[in-house]
């Protein structure tokens, strides 16, 4: 059963429409991420759900009831703001306790719950600080703690971890996920960190210019993007514009400039654009390439960059330029080196 539904919603600032006939439905207890380029309307969607924005058209249903006109403070939703929006005149403790005080929770219990959530957010010892004396990441954690502590019906996160370092980010997201699952709080989560979105979400919605292009579980999005935009957005950096496609027994045979590649894929019947991630391509020195290379294309290394985890190569071939990430453990390839590029048939997908 879906907990809430946005039905044909339109939102506009001044005359410019930001969301147009927007639809989104989220099931009870689910965590859904919104992913999309800057300015595509993620914050707008969250604000709409929270009730900060009035839609021009459309409906917002929550537990089957029309919530369009329910005031913000009656919604019992937790919101973590992109700019934190901490109360500058209150200490960290009071900021976090604010929502509980509204709910007339007993003093002892407030203290208890606030300290527990501050602990989770690694903010022990900061209770008496004012926001002006916190670092960026500390502020962000206070904002998260403030939203979590009220155990709301719906949690709305607007890039809650963007100012945290990798470790803390992982810890916090694990905590968020744990609390979310434990309490079964439905959650809408906006983040720019894809790994974060994929690891934390039951479903991911990829947004583009005020529209959801694809809403699926993380693995599906990750493996089977439906459109070129989605593919591009989630890291399929390499695109091949095929001339034609043909169903064969061992997959689809897609042809470009006389070269035919095999694509093993079920769920796309029309797409002519092949997409593949830099990580999924393999590179072999021309003289050391094994025999079993799938969909082999010959090329030349243009640029190589060190990425820590791997080396990144720009490879020029007759069917276009490719970006390839190769395990750094292997000996690096030199600029100008002739190579064989392998496009694994399981990894390449056709998109619309």
């Amino acid at each position: 059963m879906s907990l809430f539904t946005l039905q044909d919603v339109t939102v506009a600032y001044q005359k410019q429409a930001i969301l147009q006939d927007f639809n989104l439905s989220i099931g009870e207890g689910e965590l859904v991420s919104l992913l999309g380029p800057s300015g595509c309307g993620k914050t707008t969607t969250l604000r709409l759900i929270a009730g900060f924005l009035q839609s021009k058209q459309g409906k917002f249903l929550f537990r089957e009831k029309d919530y369009t006109k329910v005031p913000v403070n009656k919604r019992n939703f937790g919101f973590v703001f992109q700019n934190y929006a901490l109360f500058p005149h209150m200490t960290v403790f009071d900021n976090v306790a604010f929502g509980l005080r509204q709910r007339k929770v007993s003093k002892a219990s407030i203290k208890d719950r606030v300290l527990r959530v501050l602990d989770i957010a690694s903010l022990k010892g900061f209770e008496e600080r004012f926001p002006a004396a916190l670092s960026g990441g500390q502020k962000q954690r206070v904002a998260i703690a403030r939203a979590l502590v009220i155990e709301p019906d719906l949690l709305l996160f607007d890039e809650p971890l963007s100012n945290l370092d990798a470790n803390l980010r992982v810890n916090m997201r694990v905590e968020i996920r744990r609390i979310q699952q434990e309490l079964g709080i439905t959650t809408v989560y906006v983040s720019h960190d894809q790994e974060e979105c994929f690891s934390i979400s039951d479903k991911v919605a990829i947004m583009n210019k005020g529209i959801i292009e694809q809403l699926s579980d993380p693995a599906t999005i990750y493996r089977q993007p439906k459109t070129k935009f989605v593919a591009d957005f989630i890291g399929f950096k390499n695109f091949i514009q095929f001339d034609s496609r043909r169903q064969e027994t061992d997959g689809i045979a897609a042809t470009v400039q006389g070269i035919t590649l095999t694509v093993q894929q079920q769920d796309n019947d029309t797409g002519l654009v092949g997409a593949i991630r830099p990580d999924d391509l393999r590179l072999y020195p021309l003289d050391a390439a094994p025999m079993t290379v799938e969909n082999a294309v010959q090329g030349k290394v243009l640029i190589s960059t060190y990425l820590g985890r791997s080396y990144q190569y720009e490879v020029k071939t007759s069917i276009g330029q490719f970006t390839v990430n190769d395990d750094a453990a292997a000996a690096p390839l030199a600029n100008g080196q002739e190579v064989v590029l392998e496009i694994p048939k399981k990894q390449i997908v056709l998109v619309d």
């Binding site: 929270a50 009730g51 900060f52 005031p71 913000v72 403070n73 919604r75 019992n76 939703f77 937790g78 919101f79 703001f81 700019n83 929006a85 901490l86 109360f87 500058p88 005149h89 604010f98 929502g99 509204q102 709910r103 004012f130 926001p131 002006a132 403030r146 939203a147 009220i150």
Partner: protein, 262 residues
């Protein structure tokens, strides 16, 4: 970036010399023994300070003025803060007109206001003297409250208000718990200015006072129309001291750190 602004510091110092210089002279003259204002004073006495308490009108009207300013301020705050808030928080049709209405009491010459109040409050509305004074003073305080509070709200980040509402606070609760503390300095400034505006008002009070009811400025004005001695200078000094003490105690007792934002 707390650098030392030496030039600005000197400038500010000179401004305060300008502001306070005349007051120093007044303070000196208040200790003169003779019955006319003299500077430099030629003798020393506290007679004129004693006289403040001997002139029966001062103490009485001082209380009237204080009550009037406080009551007027209270009403002006009750009416003014919601209006200032709405004007800054929301978009309105006819906002400019509304803003115009709210400043209008300032732009009408005081004597005309006073006379008009006299005619309408007393003749048409048949208000008792205190009620007329009270309303008249509230009218002139209101624009100060609204404008000064508005200028604070203009720079207020309303997203923290949203945060509070999303945490379950009612709109009114949010206002008191989150908005108010953050525009505290503006409100204090507004209250202060409105208070002084009322406390010093002559134009309106002159018309609205009646038999047995007067305010301190009217009493002082009447006094200087007929006496030339330093009593009023002494009274001015006393008013300054009272103000200073009052501020000091508010600061101490309530721990209100004026004009400081965390």
């Amino acid at each position: 970036m707390r650098e030392k602004h030496i030039g600005l510091g000197i400038f500010t110092f000179l401004v305060f010399v300008f502001l306070l210089g005349p007051l120093v002279i007044i303070s000196f003259t208040s200790f003169e023994q003779g019955t006319v204002l003299r500077f430099p004073p030629e003798s020393f006495s506290l007679d004129w300070y004693k006289n403040i308490f001997e002139v029966s009108g001062f103490l009485e009207t001082f209380k009237v003025s204080i009550y009037l300013s406080l009551a007027g301020n209270l009403l002006a705050l009750l009416i003014g803060i919601p209006a200032a808030y709405a004007l800054n928080r929301f978009d309105f049709k006819g906002k400019a007109l509304l803003e115009g209405i709210f400043v209008s009491p300032i732009i009408i010459p005081g004597i005309v206001l006073g006379f008009t109040f006299l005619r309408f409050f007393i003749t048409y509305y048949q208000l008792p003297i205190y009620a007329g004074l009270f309303i008249g003073h509230t009218v002139i305080m209101l624009p100060f409250i609204i404008r000064v509070v508005s200028s604070s709200l203009a720079n207020f980040d309303f997203s923290i208000e949203e945060a509070a509402v999303s945490l379950g606070a009612s709109r009114i609760g949010t206002f008191f718990k989150v908005v108010l503390p953050n525009i505290k300095s503006g409100i204090i400034a507004g209250v202060l200015i409105a208070f002084l505006e009322s406390f010093n008002n002559v134009d309106i009070s002159v018309f609205m006072t009646g038999p047995g009811v007067s305010t301190l400025p009217i009493e002082m004005l009447t006094y200087v129309q007929n006496y030339f001695d330093p009593t009023i200078a002494a009274l001015s000094v006393v008013l300054m001291i009272i103000t200073a003490l009052f501020m000091f105690f508010v600061e101490r007792l309530l721990g209100l750190s004026y004009f400081t934002k965390r």
